[in-house]
Symmetry: C2
Subunit: 212 residues, 2 copies
DNA sequence: ATTAAATTATACTTTATAGTATATTTTTTA
DNA sequence: TAAAAAATATACTATAAAGTATAATTTAAT
């Protein structure tokens, strides 16, 4: 028998609104718990039994909602990728004042790092557990961010507003200091995300030697 | 029988110089191969069979030289910790010109990150696979670096040489941009470690608003 | 050269965990 | 309310990988 049971994973028929909402809610719960556990213990070290126990269900419950362990990670990272994409896609680095664009980029960037700090940490730690094509998508995204930063810094230099050498490396440094936030941000810390983002923009503008 | 066989792991009797050197060399080889594999595949995903195969030996060979898998990771990180320690221990942040000290700190910091980029990556990825006391040692080291940076930035502000808000956060940002180097540095890239370190110090001094 | 010690391999055990076949319960539909 | 479908659990299999008992081999000591 070559036929396999088809599980209602992913897209499902629109039957009853409420039932679909319940289904989605369950998936959501699985994702939330998994994210927390993956973050604290790492992907490999987090067993499905632990996730199940944490949810108060059994393993097949999870397999009913997700194809396998890896697909849970995939969903989490895919979603975070989406947030990064939304944040950066809207910024046009080719027009407008460079100092304004750079400030905007860093501000948005910082806020999304803080918002997604748990899965952002996973980008840098559990990336290797992803299939090749996803790894490449992540790389592309990173490159896109770096390129946008580089471009706007270059424009600022051309306009004589910024004074900094090697815009490419400067971008990597900006990306570094912003991304690094995921390692030290504390929700109960003394600064709010907005305050941090503001400071971050000051530092970056200083760094690129903005003409005051 | 409560007696257990005692394996010659770690410290050994000084019998013959050449033999000890061979022994150390083998441990060294195991560490090198393991480091490369841990880096590329992650600690958990690297099996001892893979390490053994890569070395062209069998598993008991490795167990003869190391207590277990974790102790290999431990040795690698311990050694890297030592390098970080050596680099920072020599710097006195309480005396001398702040701009000189900061420059020196960033320079050393950048070079050691590049030199130890493989195991530095492991600090941030496989830390959770360490026993608690080691994790704490690593945290302490990080804190020490941040504190040194903070202190020197504060001194610079007091002296009216630097102009930057929130020295604590500035330090975290400096640590971030420097550490981040491990993600993008390429041995065959267009810049040498020294060039990168020099650029990095320029960026940092700009960032803290040095009076030129 | 013979014995003892050190080193390495063969072949095994144990354990943990991803994943599944099947039964049971719950919910929906007619 | 009976039948069908969906959702969840019980109890299992398969497998990978850490770690080890023991044998074989190599090296050193007398």
């Amino acid at each position: 028998m070559a036929q396999k049971k088809i599980k209602p994973i992913g897209t499902r028929k629109a039957k009853s609104d409420i039932r679909n909402k319940i289904f989605d809610f369950k998936r959501e719960q699985i994702l939330e718990v998994s994210e927390r556990l993956f973050y604290h213990r790492g992907f490999q070290a987090t067993t499905l039994d632990i996730i199940a126990e944490e949810l108060g269900v059994t393993k097949p419950f999870i397999y009913y909602h997700f194809k396998n362990k890896r697909s849970i990670l995939l969903h989490l990272l895919e979603r975070t990728m989406g947030k990064y994409h939304d944040v950066f896609a809207g910024v046009d680095v080719e027009s407008g004042k460079p100092e304004v664009i750079l400030k905007d980029l860093v501000q948005r960037f910082t806020l999304v790092v803080i918002e997604t700090r748990v899965s952002t940490a996973m980008f840098w730690r559990d990336e290797k557990d992803l299939p090749l094509d996803r790894k490449e998508k992540i790389r592309d995204m990173k490159r896109d961010v770096d390129n946008k930063l580089t471009r706007v810094i270059e424009r600022g230099i051309d306009d004589g507003i910024f004074d900094v050498k090697d815009p490419k490396m400067a971008s990597l440094c900006v990306a570094g200091m912003v991304t690094w936030t995921y390692t030290w941000y504390q929700a109960d810390g003394r600064s709010t995300p907005d305050e941090i983002a503001d400071r971050m923009t000051e530092y970056v503008l200083n760094m690129v030697g903005i003409r005051k």
